[in-house]
Symmetry: C2
């Protein structure tokens, strides 16, 4: 199967501010979504909308403008509706994190829509009724008003994580130290602290276990063990010996 | 312990656009965060910033303005740095979803900071080096440029979910049907389809199992069973009997 994100359309219904349409396009593209549908946008994306879309102008320019939500949902096998409040006769809503995998699973069978309402009024009950899956983003009950672009960002982020394993974050590949290298480091460390007098072999207390507990947490790399042992070597050369 | 979100500060370093500071304040407040620190903002939040903060003006007005990142990190037990790319000498980065619980856990011991860099340049290597935990948001490799306010929204969303169990989404509390009520419904349904001739008892095929498979998926509520049985009753009354 190709990328399920290609089959998930973001539908913005009756959006008032062109800047929010641009921000939504940018949010979509950062997460790999491209299908934007606009139902009766109160404003065409103007200069502000284009500015806020940044380099997602292609998503904005490819947007499908529809006269009704029914038209925007044509051909979909699942339509989800963002809602900030309970709707009496709608199905029980799902949190964003639970809804995203359901939408990705449905995208295996056909187009899926996620519908966002107007900035002030949200979706009408009639619009929610056209969708089978009401979705909510958990928010601060004292202030639940996400900006439209921000809500699109959160949902597209959840959809991306549900659709694609991000693997491990990019990091320099440094070979880890082997168990033997670590053992030699601790022997070296013990010799150094014994020579300096910091460790008294007659009264070792718990010095070495405490130092091990500290260095064990580091996941030392091979080069770092060399670095530390080089440092110990110069300490042992230049320091005074204890008799 | 009180709410860990009260001990997590969002630090914006060298932000260029006041609108983004306002959007960040709004994003924070929707997720229940309130501690905003601004390091050398290139612009004071002006009218645009205040407009985009919407009703999070209190977060914006309570912002602590600092001359350096060191100052903004004072007193923290953990500082995390948002980064969009690999940094050679930094610790291995964590994805947002893995980093959030670490930050929440650290907040039990003291203040925690999450640092966002300038819109164009991000954080400098020197700034990242002041933080122990580099954090990345998984993005579309072909276009990874999240808007600053959108990145703050995603991170505050992850922090909220890591800190607080959202419980179940608000939904009308309708009592579910009992097993007995469901059984009576199926008996009623079988009687109705038998009377109408849709089910031929001599050749039942797999009609009832298929109807059960369909209705079993609904999690029928008590009132809905009554509704369906009322409907069946009128079908049986008005329909013609099969002989």
């Amino acid at each position: 199967m190709n990328n399920p994100l290609d089959r998930i359309r973001i539908v913005l219904s009756h959006t008032s501010h062109p800047g929010n349409i641009g921000a939504a396009a940018r949010a979509m593209k950062t997460m790999g979504l491209t299908q934007l549908y606009l139902v009766n946008p109160c404003a065409d994306p103007d200069g502000v909308g284009r500015a806020r879309s940044s380099n997602a102008r292609d998503v904005l320019e490819g947007a499908v403008v529809c006269a009704s939500l029914e038209e925007a949902l044509e051909g979909t096998v699942l339509a989800a509706a963002m809602t900030a409040r309970m709707r009496e006769l709608a199905p029980p809503p799902q949190w964003a994190r639970a809804a995203a995998p359901q939408m990705v699973a449905a995208a295996a069978h056909g187009p899926v829509a996620l519908v966002f309402g107007n900035e002030t009024a949200g979706l009408s009950n009639e619009e929610v009724a056209l969708c089978r899956l009401p979705v909510m983003i958990p928010t601060n009950p004292a202030y639940s008003s996400l900006n439209l672009g921000a809500a699109v960002q959160v949902m597209c982020y959840e959809l991306r994580l549900a659709a694609l394993d991000p693997g491990r974050p990019p990091a320099p590949e440094n070979p880890p130290a082997t168990a033997e290298e670590i053992r030699h480091f601790y022997e070296h460390l013990e010799a150094a602290v014994t020579q300096s007098g910091f460790l008294d072999p007659a009264h070792p207390k718990r010095l070495m276990p405490r130092l091990r507990r500290l260095f064990d947490r580091i996941d030392l790399e091979r080069d770092e063990v060399s670095l530390l042992r080089g440092m110990l070597k110069t300490f042992m050369k230049t320091g005074n010996k204890v008799d």
